[in-house]
Every structure is written in C-alpha cells, then in structure tokens.
C-alpha cells in the first residue's frame, strides 16, 4: 500500500488565529493525507517534530505580520535538522509583493486568505510527484 502523504500543520509563534490552519487541515485530510495539527509552536519545535514524525510537508499559517522572519526561522531550523527536502507551504495574511521573496527563501507555495483549498491540495500532490520523480 502506498504511504499516505504526511503533513505537519503549525502556527509559528503565539498568534492565535487558527481558522485558516484548521480549514486547510480538513481539506488535506479530505484529500487522503495524514495531517498532524501542531497549533502554536516555536520554529525550532516545528523542525524537530517534522523530522520526528517524518512528514513530507510543513504547512505554516501566519496572520500576524511576522511571516518573513518566522518563515526564515523555520527554514533555517529545518536546515539545521538536515530536512531541507521537506516541502514548506505558507498561508495567511501575506502581501503579494512578499510572495517572490518567500519563494526565493525556499517556500514551495504561498496562499493568502481566500485561496481555494483545492489549489493547495493540488500543489501538495504536484510537489509529491516531483519528489518521487527525483528519488
């Protein structure tokens, strides 16, 4: 049996706006993925749990303006855990002009409020098949 795609959904930092993370969690589960809902976690904890749980994807939900710094810190922590191959997606209140720099940083997908959940599912699946092709 094929292994299900494993996702860690987390909110780096202490901001408590959870709706987006919950909506995306539900959408990914409905698409047959296994999602660990981490809630609020420090960037370092996100990287540790991602490695321990052997996830394929980390989803970050950020709605309190700190997305550049917080994402950078999660990516750095993943690097320190030698887990750069994990797909990283960011959702939340992200201005359009921040999307290119986030992608340059190494983020695979960015989804502002109002993004269709099927587009998120589609991107995860695409990234997974690319990963498989490389392996």
């Amino acid at each position: 049996m094929e292994r299900k795609v494993r996702v860690l959904m987390a909110k780096p930092g202490i901001d408590g706006h959870w709706r987006g993370a919950k909506v995306v969690t539900t959408a990914l589960r409905n698409a047959g993925m296994e999602v660990i809902f981490g809630g609020n976690m420090s960037p370092e904890a996100i990287a540790k749990v991602a490695v321990q749980e052997d996830v394929d994807v980390v989803g970050l939900s950020i709605l309190a303006a700190g997305h550049m710094k917080l994402t950078q810190r999660v990516l750095q922590a993943l690097q320190e855990e030698s887990a750069e191959d994990i797909v990283v997606m960011v959702g939340g209140t992200i201005p359009q002009e921040d999307i290119p720099p986030l992608k340059e940083m190494g983020v695979d997908g960015v989804f502002p409020p109002g993004s269709k959940t099927d587009l998120i599912v589609k991107l995860v699946k695409e990234k997974m098949s690319q990963k498989k092709a490389r392996a």
Binding site: K11, G13, I14, D15, G16, H17, W18, R19, K22, V23, T25, T26, A27, F37, G39, N40, S42, L63, A64, A65, G66, K69, L70, R73, T93, I94, P95, Q96, E97, P112, P113, G114, S115, K116, T117, D118
Partner: protein, 536 residues
C-alpha cells in the same frame, strides 16, 4: 400553468426563502407585542426613541500596532478625520498576558496590534486625545482584560477624568480567546470566569459609564458559525456571566445588567443580518424581563457594536472588499447598531494603511450624511419579509440557545470542548459551501481573473518593535519603586485566594507600574494551566 423556472434560494444561514412574502407569512403577528415602538418594549425597532436623529452611531475603528507612540499617531489621524470612538487593538503578546521581554516572545511584539505592558504605555497611546469626550473600547483577551482595563482607568484618573466619568467598553468575552483564537498560556474556565465577573461587578459599582464586557459573537461568527448560532452562543454566554454574578448574592440584576454590552458581526446576507440585529434586541428583552425580572429599561435594552465581517474579505480583486464592507455597514445601520467598525479592504494582506482606514471612516460618514438612512428608525419594520425573517432567526436562535443550555450552559460547553467541536463543524460546513460554489464569492469562485487587477499599498508594522519595547520594559523595571510593586503583587495574590473582588488590588498594582505579565503571573501561580480542547 406557469412555465417559469424558479431557482431555490436560501439565506446565508441556510434558511429556505420564498420569492415574496405577504401577511399570510405572519399569522400571529401582533404589532404591539412583536414590534412596539423605537425605544419601547420589546425594543425590536431600536433601543432609543429618536435613534440616529438623537445621536448618530459611533464610528469606532479598531486599531493599533507597533509602539504606543506609533499607535497614538494613528489614533490622532483617525480622530482628526472624524472618528467618534476609539478602540485599541493589542498584539498577540498582550492577549497572552505576556510582556515583550518574555523569552517565549520573538518577533511578534507590536505586529498584530499595539503592545502595552504598563500604565506608561497606556498614557502614551492616549496623549493629546480627548478621552473625556470620546469613549474607548479596550479590546483584548478575557484573560488580559482586568489588568489592561485597569491601566486605562488609571491613565484616565491621572488625566483628571474620574472613574465616574470615564466612558467605554472592555471586550472581556469568554470565547474570543479560546474558541476563536488559541492561547499558549491560559488558565481554566472557572477562574477566567471569576476574573471577568469580578471586573463586571466592580465596574457596575464604581465606573458607571463603562461596559466591562462586550459579548463578542462577532468572533464566533468569524470562526464559521451562522447567524442564529451566533445569537444562541451570545445569549448562552451572557447567561453564564449573569448566573455567576447572581450566585454571589452581592448585586441584583438591575445593578449590573445596564452595563452589559454586545459586539455582533455584519456578514454578507443583507436582510438576514438586519433580521438578526432586530431579533437580538427582542430576545434580550425577553431574557431580561421573563427570566430575570429586570425592571430598569437600561437592563432591557440590547446595546451593540457591529464590525463588518473580516472573514468575507478576500485577497482576490482586493478593492471589491470595500463594496462588501459598505453593504455590511448599511445592514448594521438599518439594524440599529450603536457603533460600527467598518473593516478595511486590505485586511486579507495586512493591518490597514492610513488610506484604507480613511476609506473605512469615509464609508461610514457617507452612509451617515449622504444617504439619509439615519433619518428614520427601523425603516424596514413592517416589511413582510424582514418581520418573517426576524421571527425565523429568533426561533432558531432560541433553539440553539436551549441546546447549549441543555448541554450544561456556558462553563460546561466551554470546559468540555463541546463548543469548540460545534464551531469546528460550522467552519467546515462554511468552507464546503464555498468550495462547492453553493455560496458565491465574487473573484473567488465566480468572476475569477488571471492575475490581480489592483495593486494596493501594504502596511508594515515597525520591525524593531520587539527590541524597542523589550528594552523599554526592562528599563521600567529598573526605574519604578520595586518595593511597592512587590507589595501590590503580594496583595493581589492574597486577595485572589479569597472571594473578594480582585479589581481594587489590580488597580493598585497597575498604578505602581506593575506590568501586564507580572499581574498575569500572579494568577498563573495560583490557577491551573488549561490547554484549550481543540482536537484537530
């Protein structure tokens, strides 16, 4: 036989609607009993006789970011442009009851709201602003409400505005920061309830023009609930607080019901929202009169603030949001709101810019001064459709209220996680409706475009806020009278162990410049930690 094809239609909350309504849809309608007159029982038509001809609704835009100095500048800008009420938005650090130098806090100070750690910050925010004439809403978590409200009171007193004169509202709602937002360091519901009700009790006796709670069903709605669930939860929570106060045998219902207030959402379904506001007034009247025997007309009148629904705003074709906001403002005004916050079109991307907040203020002023909607109270009263829908919403809201009461009421549904599961289900349902296209959202699931037609400026909070404010709070700890602070916190600890009201001790502590984090630490050391039961 007619060959006309008619599509089925539902309100935003899924109530089926016909093509038109007549008197036959109101079989038991009794004008005196169901409607009354504006300012008269059962208040369906509004809580004041002269409604907006006496006083226009207050333009109260929720805002705050970065340092207290930066927020003061924004407050002045809004006031100079005709804002008529202040409302402080605090950052996630404040909401969690932490100080900017807490080791768990990184990069988030002043990002989603202003950071206030002591009385000194509150003084800076309101410097030069006429707090004796303009009311203020102190909006933060229930957890941080007593200390931050006390800082506002202490600031007002230092400015020569006595507790008898100070005017405004604290949010202090049980669910905003456990159902709608998570917290990282929280105590159990019975203790949160005690602190909230202490504040209500103390304010009712000492700060007569202050509303020490604003039950914020806006936030439940933003979390996915529908219009009648919004009212059902709202009244379940209000009843929970009222019962807690009455249980103490210190005050009668008319001693504190006049200071209770409410904060509702204006969502997309125009008539359903108007019906909801009207139903809410009638429900509150019945609750107060029939269940609690209240006599004071101020106890019977449902005072409410409306915020246009941020969750209806999307990033696609972003200027469209300003149209959504204007319609929602119109619904709130036709529904008889006492104050309105028009959100800003850019909020899916950032906190509002000077320009977008100006547009929000102007949206309200155009409604107030150009459309003439403020001339006549409850202009939709008597419409077959609106009266039928008001009855429907009321009926369904009572049913949902009863369901929550049957599950044990506020403390039980809150502590057990029942309400969290209910909100989760509602949120999933709303998402399903959008994903399936059942609910149309222009630019999201219809009239989509490749690429964005509008480029809008983006607001950036001061990225140095954490460093600046962490340093400032460290400096405060050097400069203040620490012996005095220690005594005040020790006293707060002692009082908190008894049934005595904590507010006098909180007031003393903030006047000595104890910080928010230090005050919350007193309660963290006494009360058990609580992980919010959000299973996901």
């Amino acid at each position: 036989m007619s060959q006309l094809k008619t599509r089925e239609a539902y309100t935003g909350s899924g109530i089926p609607v016909k093509v038109f309504y007549t008197s036959e849809d109101l079989p038991d309608f009794d004008e005196a009993r169901n409607l009354g007159l504006p300012g008269k029982e059962p208040y369906t038509r509004g809580i004041y006789e002269n409604m907006y001809r006496g006083k226009l609704w207050t333009i109260r835009q929720f805002s705050g970011f970065g340092t207290p100095e930066e927020t003061n500048k924004r407050f002045r800008y809004k006031y100079e442009n005709g804002e008529t009420g202040f409302s402080i938005s605090m950052d996630s650090v404040n909401e969690n009851g932490l100080d900017p130098d807490d080791p768990r806090v990184q990069d988030e100070v002043g990002q989603s709201g202003v950071s206030i750690s002591s009385l000194a910050d509150m003084e800076t925010i309101f410097e030069g602003l006429p707090i004796d004439k303009v009311s203020t809403a102190v909006i933060t978590s229930q957890w941080s409400s007593p200390a931050l409200t006390a800082m506002y009171f202490a600031m007002a007193e230092k400015r020569g505005v006595s507790l008898k004169e100070v005017n405004g509202t604290s949010q202090n709602d049980p669910y905003v920061f456990s159902l709608c937002c998570n917290m990282i360091d929280f105590v159990t519901p019975p203790h949160l309830l005690r602190l909230s009700v202490d504040m209500i009790e103390w304010c009712a006796q000492n700060v007569p023009n202050w509303h020490p709670v604003s039950f914020a069903s806006y936030n439940y709605r933003e979390n996915g609930c529908n219009a009648y669930q919004e009212l059902g939860m709202l009244f379940c929570n209000a009843v929970g607080y009222i019962e807690e106060e009455l249980k103490r045998n210190r005050l009668n219902i008319d001693d504190f019901a006049p200071v209770l207030s409410f904060h509702l959402a204006a969502h997309n379904d125009f008539f359903e929202e108007i019906a909801k506001f009207r139903a809410a007034r009638r429900m509150w009247y019945k609750l107060m009169k029939e269940r609690y025997g209240a006599q004071d007309p101020r106890s019977l009148a449902f005072r409410f603030h409306v915020q246009t629904s941020g969750s209806t705003d999307i990033y696609q074709q972003i200027l469209n949001n300003s149209v959504r906001i204007a319609y929602q403002v119109l619904a709130a005004a036709l529904g008889g709101a006492q104050s309105i916050h028009a959100t800003s079109y850019d909020e899916p991307l950032c906190l509002p810019t000077d320009q977008s907040i100006l547009l929000s203020i102007r949206t309200q002023q155009i409604a107030q001064y150009e459309t003439n909607i403020a001339n006549v109270a409850d202009p939709l009263g008597g419409s077959y459709y609106v009266e039928w829908l008001t009855n429907e919403i009321e009926k369904k809201a009572w049913e949902y209220f009863q369901e929550l009461e049957d599950k044990g009421g506020l403390l039980e549904v809150w502590h057990s996680g029942y309400i969290h599961r209910e909100a989760g289900k509602a949120m999933e349902e709303r998402q399903r409706e959008i994903d399936s296209g059942e609910t149309k959202i222009v630019g999201l699931n219809c009239f989509e475009m490749d690429g964005e037609p509008y480029q809008v400026p983006v607001f950036r909070p001061n990225p140095q806020s954490t460093e600046i404010l962490a340093e400032r709070v460290r400096k405060l700890r050097w400069e203040r009278d620490n012996q005095k602070v220690k005594e005040c916190l020790e006293n707060l600890h002692q009082v908190s162990l008894t049934d005595e009201n904590v507010m006098p001790a909180v007031m003393e502590a903030v006047k000595a410049y104890a910080t928010l984090g230090e005050i919350q630490d007193v309660w963290r050391s006494i009360y058990p930690h609580w992980d919010i039961p959000i299973q996901y």
